[in-house]
């Protein structure tokens, strides 16, 4: 059986730069969350935008329910966009400043013939209730809402067209921490309630852990590790995942932290290093890593990593 969303060899270029370079992703039917983590410049946002066809693909394929939509146009593209909705990071920018909340939600409903016009106001009220807002919020303009409320409206807009998959691009990173917690709970609730599947793009490992069964770690446009989130975080197979995990600040680790395991910053994607793209920052790098790029291979049951020394990392070489 084919997964709900299948992405193969996804490649996106900006000029000569390969922002995304051969990414494979599978998302089964909901309720299911796939996390996509990585630092700025890793290409994670670009993957999300390419999946919803907001950014053109240089190569590769995207298929929904086994049907290739890579070259879809017109009605097929419209149907695909209805099925796969995106929620952006910045709730300030995602809503038209001159459009009232009710009109924003109605627009999506009518554009996709979800309900007849006469039933739209009722559906708007339902949608608002679904995301924890009141009916009276329909009459508000975006600037009359708080950041958290705006993000709820953005989620309601995505839900309005009854999508099968959501792409959530850093949905909470612009929000205050208490508001973030509430929006995360909302996503968890919707996922169970509506049997939603989503691709959650985040730089925050804890957010991904809370909401995603599986996680893919992106480095310089490639997946360097993929697997069940809990295992991937508790026993990483790629040195980069180890480093990401170690860099997360935590309340409760009161011992002085060890020296940072990876120095520096990701290399310029315009001129990636030869061999493994992570080798300049990797404490385990060998001569082989400097010349031969490791492929993404299965390292354990259900787990993949792109590292020549993944077995050693798994058995604690970085600890």
């Amino acid at each position: 059986m084919s997964p709900l969303l299948r992405v193969r060899d996804l490649e996106v270029r900006f000029g000569d730069v390969r922002a995304v370079d051969g990414v494979d992703l599978d998302i089964p039917d909901g309720p299911f969350g796939l996390g996509l983590v990585g630092e700025s410049g890793s290409g994670k946002t670009t993957v999300g935008r390419a999946v919803v066809r907001l950014t053109p693909l240089a190569a590769g394929s995207v298929a929904l329910d086994g049907e290739d939509v890579t070259k879809a146009r017109g009605a097929t593209l419209k149907a695909y966009r209805r099925a796969v909705q995106i929620v952006f990071q910045d709730p300030d920018g995602t809503l038209d400043p001159r459009m009232r909340v009710g009109a924003v939600l109605t627009e999506g409903l009518l554009a996709n013939d979800i309900v007849p016009k006469s039933e739209a106001p009722g559906r708007v009220t339902e949608l608002l209730a679904d995301v924890g807002l009141d009916a009276e919020h329909a009459g508000r303009l975006p600037h009359q809402l708080s950041g958290g409320q705006r993000q709820r409206v953005a989620i309601a807009r995505a839900l309005a067209v009854q999508p099968r998959l959501l792409v959530l691009d850093e949905p909470t990173s612009a929000l205050d921490v208490t508001v973030q917690a509430k929006v995360l709970r909302l996503i968890a609730h919707l996922r169970d309630d509506r049997r939603l599947a989503y691709l959650l793009i985040s730089h925050n490992l804890a957010v991904v852990e809370a909401l995603c069964e599986r996680t893919a770690v992106l480095y310089l446009g490639r997946v360097v590790e993929e697997g069940p989130t809990a295992e991937l975080l508790s026993r990483p197979a790629h040195p980069y995942t180890v480093a990401l995990r170690a860099a997360v600040p935590e309340i409760g680790s009161w011992e002085p932290r060890r020296a940072v395991t990876v120095p520096g910053e990701p290399p310029d994607p315009a001129s990636p290093p030869p061999g493994c793209p992570f080798h300049p920052r990797c404490p385990l790098a060998t001569d082989r890593c400097r010349t031969e790029r490791p492929a993404l291979t299965t390292v354990e049951d259900g787990r993949q990593a792109a590292c020549h020394r993944a077995d050693e990392v798994l058995s604690g070489a970085m600890a």
Partner: protein, 263 residues
């Protein structure tokens, strides 16, 4: 308290357009201490830092109270005297390090001018100090020839810190300095701040919405809500056993790896 605080704020009141936005009874930073100022947007934490540097006037705020730095009352200090302190004895770093550097000047130009302004005897001496400061924050001195747009966010933040270091600032006001950075880079900047404090005895007022970052870095923490400090104490105590409801909510809201699924 046995030692005199390096920076002490008493009864700070800030009003903007008739609204009372900060009402801070007491806050102090000791020599060589890193104090975390935690809170959400609108809590007044950034405004407090701006008041210390006398920057609130430009946004039309009415400020009352007392801010004493090394025995000098900063409130009501004339602009010339304030300029000698601002940026030199009390430095500030910001959330967006690249945009806080003027894009038309090379890093070195800004650096050298700041050093000359604040007492470097010659240009050669200033350049030498700038190079030394960059090395201290683990950056190549060649960065002095670059423009801010040619730096990464982490490099730009290091440059800002190096500037405070070269000027031998006694207090560093850090306003969300790592919020725009990747976690690996953030970890390095936190390391850097910690080691600088250990080496130079610089005091740091570290403003952040991120309690986990504050837990990593700070000795003490003050939690602000709606302009007031609702809880203050040793970071470890406050963050592990918060006594105020708001602090508890904040701590509980921090997503944790290995924590329960939100829901």
């Amino acid at each position: 308290m046995s030692t005199q605080p390096r920076l002490a704020i008493e009864g700070l009141q800030i009003r903007i357009g008739g609204r009372h936005v900060v009402d801070l009874a007491h806050l102090h930073v000791d020599p060589g201490e890193i104090l975390g100022l935690a809170g959400e947007s609108g809590s007044g934490k950034s405004l407090t830092a701006q008041a210390v540097l006398g920057l609130t006037r430009t946004i039309g705020a009415a400020v009352d109270g007392s801010i004493v730095f090394e025995g000098i009352e900063l409130m009501g200090l004339d602009e010339a005297a304030m300029r000698a302190i601002r940026g030199r004895r009390i430095a500030m770093i910001f959330q967006s390090p690249i945009s806080s550097l003027n894009p038309v000047f090379r890093v070195g130009d800004v650096f050298v001018r700041a050093l000359r302004l604040h007492g470097a005897p010659s240009k050669a001496e200033a350049v030498e100090r700038a190079r030394a400061a960059l090395r201290e924050v683990v950056l190549s001195p060649e960065l002095l020839d670059r423009y801010p747009s040619q730096l990464s966010g982490g490099q730009a933040q290091r440059v800002s810190i190096a500037m405070a270091l070269a000027l031998r600032s006694e207090v560093l006001l850090a306003d969300e300095p790592t919020s725009a950075l990747d976690v690996t880079v953030q970890a390095e900047i936190l390391d850097l701040l910690r080691s600088l404090r250990d080496e130079t005895g610089m005091s740091v007022l570290f403003i952040s919405h991120d309690l986990a970052v504050i837990a990593e870095l700070c000795d003490r923490v003050a939690v602000m809500q709606r302009g007031r400090i609702v809880e203050e104490g040793i970071a470890r105590n406050v963050l592990t056993t918060p006594s105020e409801g708001y602090t508890r909510e904040l701590v509980a809201s921090v997503p944790r790896i290995g924590g329960a699924v939100a829901g």
